[in-house]
């Protein structure tokens, strides 16, 4: 089974200070730590697990700058056989649609039975690239996949719906599956492991190699263009309880007492 896994190199922002950059359209990235997108970590692990079980190969692909190599190296260390980075100045300003277009041009020339992506990227949260990619390649897709079993040219998947409900679907291979967290337990990747994988192939391709024009990528090829980024205004700000820890504990206790909760 030949598997392609699409991975994105994203900043970790959940616990970081995020500030808007001078251009007003992006964030300041210098202080931020980047890593593989959480959902893609599960997708990459799933790809390697499947390959180990069924044979075949795993190719990790990213559209990103040179820094994204660390995310690809992580995939190689996990067990991917090769990696491809798609980089070009013209890609600047591309939205999820263009990212899918770029990926489709490369993937259509590769042998594959399955494409795995993450359910969403934690930075833009579009939840789009995989499904658009599937449409551009003319293959079926399923999103929020929590379980998958390929067999005889078909893959059976559990798609997660709201409230814990799942639906079981069957798709003909080749297919694209967008992976949800919790499908497996991504293994820990050590620095040593990454060093060992340095010998594996990491190919870099640009606009000219993939057969798209400048107009088809970047902002000009995009559906959606960022005009402005800002820190959201707080509609309903919480009353922040201040003071020492014991003082705070007392304040909470008093509040709960007046409401009859204690």
């Amino acid at each position: 089974m030949d598997i392609i896994v699409c991975v994105k190199h994203v900043p970790e922002t959940a616990e970081a200070d995020v500030a808007i950059a001078e251009d007003g359209k992006s964030i300041k990235t210098t202080e931020l730590v980047y890593d593989i997108n959480e959902w893609d970590d599960y997708a990459a692990e799933e790809a390697v697990l499947l390959r180990d079980k069924l044979g075949g190969s795993v190719t990790a692909i990213t559209v990103g700058s040179e820094e994204a190599d660390s995310t690809l190296r992580k995939c190689l260390a996990r067990g991917a056989d090769r990696a491809i980075r798609l980089t070009d100045e013209a890609f600047e300003g591309s939205d999820s649609y263009v990212t899918a277009k770029i990926l489709s041009k490369v993937i259509k020339n590769l042998p594959f039975d399955l494409i795995l992506t993450g359910a969403q990227a934690s930075d833009d949260g579009c939840a789009q690239v995989g499904v658009v990619l599937a449409e551009l390649l003319g293959i079926p897709h399923a999103t929020m996949v929590k379980k998958l079993e390929p067999k005889d040219g078909i893959v059976k998947v559990n798609q997660e719906l709201e409230g814990g409900l799942e639906e079981i679907m069957e798709l003909k291979l080749p297919a694209m599956l967008a992976i949800q967290t919790g499908i497996n337990e991504p293994r820990y990747i050590s620095i040593m492991g990454i060093r060992k994988a340095m010998k594996k192939e990491l190919k870099v391709l640009g606009l000219k190699d993939i057969g798209l024009t400048e107009e088809e990528v970047g902002e000009s090829g995009s559906w959606i263009i960022v005009e402005k980024m800002f820190v959201p205004s707080v509609e309903k700000e919480a009353e922040i309880l201040t003071g020492g820890v014991d003082e705070i504990a007392t304040k909470i206790t008093e509040t709960l007492k007046t409401r009859g909760l204690i």
């Binding site: 999820s96 949260g125 499904v131 639906e167 559906w223 980024m229 009353e239 705070i248």
Partner: protein, 327 residues
């Protein structure tokens, strides 16, 4: 006249809240644009549902077909691409739900209609469609515009638009036949069945007091720190999704879009950032208190009270204080 379409979402015989949320926003938009608001309903034996929708739109288009009984992005896409090509609505609204996320991007790509997903607001400025979205885990908002087009598709974030009360409009139901493209050989993707994981031993939806733990707890070994607080309250311990993904708590403890929806008297969120998928499951709680060391955490936009502190300091102190109080 311009047309604004809302794609009704329903499952197992019931309309989902997102449908009414979209209709609320859709009505506002259609008035501003002087456009017709039309609901599109795909399914099988959906008369009852169609009737309910006539309260909120002048026109309910129904495609009733055995092959649309259960949602399958493939069959739905075939019908929708036909209808959208024919009607050329200025805007089609779809929910940013499991259903919409599976459907809208491929539909948009097939027709090359510009799409913006997970929008928290939108509006036309002249000809230009402007949308608002959240990025970087809810910490930053984006204002973006879509490439000029005669048609657009936007998916709306659930639990974001308050459903308005309306006087029933008494709209008409228009049945339209399935397009020939919905042929019998939809063999690419097949619905097999629904699966509801078995219920566990604790029903968090019945609890008056919920203390929920998130990724800020760092390690499974620390979970008892928060569990003790839950016990001190006489409440139950719940959690955000990563805690279940890691196997630290069973899935019936998960609050949020893909977990349980809860409405306790007190919801205390500990080390939870407050992504919308979590918020949608607890935002209706009577009182929400959040403990998070990051003052910019989105959870503080939903909480009534906030504590910006290290949970490992506050939680034990609070636990002691509560136990003292209870004697």
């Amino acid at each position: 006249m311009k047309e604004l379409l809302v794609l009704a979402e329903h499952r197992q015989g019931d309309l989902r809240d997102i449908t009414f949320e979209m209709l609320t926003k859709g009505r506002e938009l259609s008035q501003a644009l002087n456009a017709d608001l039309t609901v599109l309903l795909l399914g099988h034996n959906v008369k009852g549902i169609a009737k309910k929708l006539t309260d909120r739109a002048k026109r309910v288009l129904v495609v009733d077909d055995e092959r649309l009984r259960n949602f399958n992005a493939e069959g739905y896409q075939r019908v929708l691409s036909h209808l959208l090509s024919e009607r050329k609505p200025l805007l089609t609204l779809v929910g940013h739900t499991a259903f919409g996320v599976d459907l809208a991007p491929s539909l948009a790509a097939e027709l090359d209609i510009p799409l913006a997903t997970d929008c928290i607001n939108l509006g036309f400025e002249g000809e230009k469609l402007v949308v608002f979205r959240q990025v970087y885990e809810g910490k930053v908002n984006v204002r973006a515009s879509l490439r000029k087009s005669e048609s657009y598709i936007v998916t709306l974030r659930p639990a974001t638009f308050e459903i308005e009360e309306v006087k029933p409009l008494g709209g008409e139901i228009v049945e339209i036949p399935s397009p020939p493209s919905l042929s019998d050989d939809m063999s690419y993707k097949r619905f097999i069945e629904y699966y509801q994981p078995p219920a566990g031993d604790v029903d968090i939806t019945a609890a008056d007091i919920i203390v929920a733990v998130g990724r800020g707890i760092r390690d499974v070994e620390n979970v008892p720190v928060v569990e003790k607080l839950a016990k001190a309250f006489g409440g139950v311990l719940a959690c955000s999704r990563p805690i279940v993904d890691k196997g630290w708590l069973p899935s019936d403890r998960q609050v949020g879009a893909s977990g349980k929806t809860v409405k306790p008297k007190l919801y205390l969120a500990v080390g939870i950032s407050g992504q919308f998928q979590h918020i949608s499951g607890m935002r209706s709680s009577d009182l929400i208190i959040a403990i998070n060391k990051d003052s910019k955490a989105p959870i503080f936009r939903t909480a009534d009270y906030g504590v910006v502190e290290d949970l490992f300091k506050v939680v034990p102190a609070l636990t002691d204080r509560i136990l003292e109080e209870k004697g």
